[in-house]
Symmetry: C2
Subunit: 135 residues, 2 copies
Amino acid sequence: MPVDVEDFLSSWNSAVHARDTEGLAALLADEVSMGAPPYWNRIEDKAVVAHLLGIIVETITDFTYQRQWLDGAELALEFHGHVDDCELQGIDLITLGEDGLITRLDVMIRPENALVLLRERVGPRMLEFFEASGD
Amino acid sequence: MPVDVEDFLSSWNSAVHARDTEGLAALLADEVSMGAPPYWNRIEDKAVVAHLLGIIVETITDFTYQRQWLDGAELALEFHGHVDDCELQGIDLITLGEDGLITRLDVMIRPENALVLLRERVGPRMLEFFEASGD
């Protein structure tokens, strides 16, 4: 059965705008792999990806999706937003698996000062998460 | 007449891979606007955009396009490459005008260290360009 991309997008947009970490987690495949903006090494742990996404959508204010490109199970979703007073533009490159869940997600943002601010805001909260989970 | 996207992509790919600044310039509309990876403020001068693109494609080695998304005159082109030993992933978001030339180009790359390196490599050469052109 082909992936229902519109159904995915509806759930994804709802979870992003509600800053709903559980809702985001429910859209991730167990084997999800994420390329985050600051680092080259990929995150391959679903719980870590879900937590990181939750913090990112909490940290970026005025988050609005702009253009979107859909090509079968490969999606490119442009967004705008702010970190503090710093305006940013970004893109989610998403691959959906056969079950309609995200198997691959790459996130890029510009400009550099927004990327640095986002890392500075998100990093300490991810550290807390790792400490709390005993990693 | 609808824009011939395949024709544009063929010319664009040829110019990028040949590191052909003149060829890149020929694909820019006079009113082109570029959002470069490091800065929020847009570059609205065609000669500056062309020169910057030329330096970027000279600086990124092993430049290869990956996935591409085409939606009418709106394109998203993913690429991979290196700056020195630093691997990078990026995206070109391109809007074509009615004459098939680029009116808007936004470039985002990850990870942060590649973005910083690229800026450090490109910045001094753009400064030389501005000094030579008397700006």
